[in-house]
Amino acid sequence: MDDAMVAQPSSTAVDLHGDSSLQVEISDAVSERDKVKFTVQTKSCLPHFAQTEFSVVRQHEEFIWLHDAYVENEEYAGLIIPPAPPRPDFEASREKLQKLGEGDSSITREEFAKMKQELEAEYLAIFKKTVAMHEVFLQRLAAHPTLRRDHNFFVFLEYGQDLSVRGKNRKELLGGFLRNIVKSADEALITGMSGLKEVDDFFEHERTFLLEYHTRIRDACLRADRVMHSHKCLADDYIPISAALSSLGTQEVNQLKTSFLKLAELFERLRKLEGRMASDEDLKLSDMLRYYMRDSQAAKDLLYRRLRALADYENANKALDKARTRNREVRTAESHQQLCCQRFERLSDSAKQELMDFKSRRVSSFRKNLIELAELELKHAKASTLLLRNTLVALKGEP
């Protein structure tokens, strides 16, 4: 296993359009007690930056701050804001390692070593994933023609000092809470309960589609997680089986000795294969589904914003009519209505583009991952078959 701490660029969601004027990657990451420190490295020839190559150290909260800054910015209302990376969560893994350490005296030293190895690999995998998620977030921003020009983004990438947003943790939680309230209002809008009339077929279709899609992909993601988890349990089961076969083999009568020992070896190797299969399924299937679950939520958020703009526009129309009948403050009402109209149209246009991009991004990402998944499954199945066949030959050849 190479580069323990450096994440490979994720192939999950970024479609970089070959534009290399701004390249961002997470070149290093360190996991400390309860936080992860990411080294964000930027390579750019753009004039904004003082140097062509530079890096800073950022923590998760600073990514969230950046994400929220985009969301709150009216200028980007018509864009799909790349979903924020999830919080690094090593709790479960750490607990398991601790439990193992506390010791179960019934397991042998080899078993213990193997289980420890497994858990450490798991920890490492989680770590790699969190790095990848943070990186993808930045890379999508860097690839987007509009988003990449954001001032906060530059600050995030370049500013050497810490951004002092750590206190935001509480605000983040609170913010999340408020956001949810707003969201249920949005849900009402988007599900048509508020009586708002959708004028555009394209958006009508997108609305229906996204609502259903998001629910179903969330479901699929959860279930894929469970499959992956079962698979992992299965692989772990091979550890005690292999150990028991090994000790049987050493004690057994000659005729069965080699059989048991070979079987023990087989199960050890199968364990590694099954483990790899589980983690491949995790990366190619679960993670992909999870990413698009978040991305489809971001798309939904865009639709909410557009519908809110539509609602505003309709209200402005009504106000204008009222003003005209009363013949009071007509000009204010007119200009207000104009603004709403423009905003709404601006949002609709950019939203249309964004949603089409979302679709093509989604399709190409699924394609890539499904192909890779199938190829990996085949690779592992063939390796298992070979392993099993070799063992069978050896066993049958025994007197």
Partner: protein, 522 residues
Amino acid sequence: MAAEREPPPLGDGKPTDFEELEDGEDLFTSTVSTLESSPSSPEPAGLAEDISTNSNGPKPAEVVLDDDREDLFAEATEEVSLDSPEREPILSSEPSPAVTPVTPTTLIAPRIESKSLSAPVIFDRSREEIEEEANGDVFDIEIGVSDPEKVGDGMNAYMAYRVTTKTSLSMFSKSEFSVKRRFSDFLGLHSKLASKYLHVGYIVPPAPEKSIVGMTKVKVGKEDSSSTEFVEKRRAALERYLQRTVKHPTLLQDPDLRQFLESSELPRAVNTQALSGAGILRMVNKAADAVNKMTIKMNESDAWFEEKQQQFENLDQQLRKLHASVEALVCHRKELSANTAAFAKSAAMLGNSEDHTALSRALSQLAEVEEKIDQLHQEQAFADFYMFSELLSDYIRLIAAVKGVFDHRMKCWQKWEDAQITLLKKRETEAKMMVANKPDKIQQAKNEIREEIEEWEAKVQQGERDFEQISKTIRKEVGRFEKERVKDFKTVIIKYLESLVQTQQQLIKYWEAFLPEAKAIA
């Protein structure tokens, strides 16, 4: 349980698979061919003498006749006529009177044909082995248990299983036949066999365990998958039980077994309702343990027994550990199967929602693949269970039977030991009487004590013979058992691995079919 000792019936024509797997001790050279020439063989009396010189140790190759003959004649209380007609099958589980011998030739005729026969005198071990290899699976009897059928209703209902026998052995009247049996019939068979053979050192395969919960569900008529699984598990266990029992050369000769396989009507085994064969075994073991704890530790003059007991103890522990781990595997594989099925459904739903046509189709294909994989996992879980897990649990119970047999030997030794002690006491009493000076009354007492001494002398002799016999039998049995075990394990391991290969190959098929679909996403 037999209250008195009964020798096993003669003429089981055991092939010479007495084979020490570890040490080279050769207790006896016994062959089937010897039996064939039995009609002209020496009289039993001569044998009886031979036996009394046996020690509990290796026997030089001068023993001409097969130990089975020795078995019989050691206990013979009546003149043995080798031409006597086939005796009546033992039908009840009560102890029967002294056994009348069965004409050996008829029982073992088929087997004899396949062997080279010459006036056998002394066979060395390698010859034995060669003949044995040539025999291979000469038993030529196949048992199948199938077609579970519910009979009756409510709490009186029971499952009837079809027991089919295919054989070329002449002791059966037909070459292919089947009967209907219920679970308690199997238990009844086991209890009869156990009562006849366990205490003389034969490893009688234990019957499958009773399960009140499982059976109640079936009786009540729950048609769900768990009760079908239960019935299938039981059917397979009953089949394995019978197959193991008929593989045992001595048990195969038993008339109760034959009746079980052949006769259309079987008397209801009533004493199995409360106790199953396994339950009785457990009781025996517990009683034996209790006795052993109370008695002085046996002076083991033969290290072989101690070694073997330790080995079986270790094996037992290891198998239990392995069994527990395999059970976890089965459980997780079933979970994997269920989760895969759930995922398949959600993938199908996602495919339906997807508005890009090619991707939608690919997702539906993925859903189908996952559904097929779920089936695969289920089948593999069955293989995990029926091949691997059940093999282990069968052997855990078999080893309990082996341990029981060792315990019986200890009990046998104890009896002998007690007889010796009593004899000693009687002799002391006699000696005391000799020195005392009371002429008139004493004569009667002297006669009495003389009689008692003679009685106990005979008992001591009997005890010694019994002990030697059981030790001999156990050695043979353990040899046979180990051989069977090795074969069993090897066969099952290979079968199991082949099932794993099958699964992987299917996986390859499914993913290979899917790959072009994924690539077709435009």
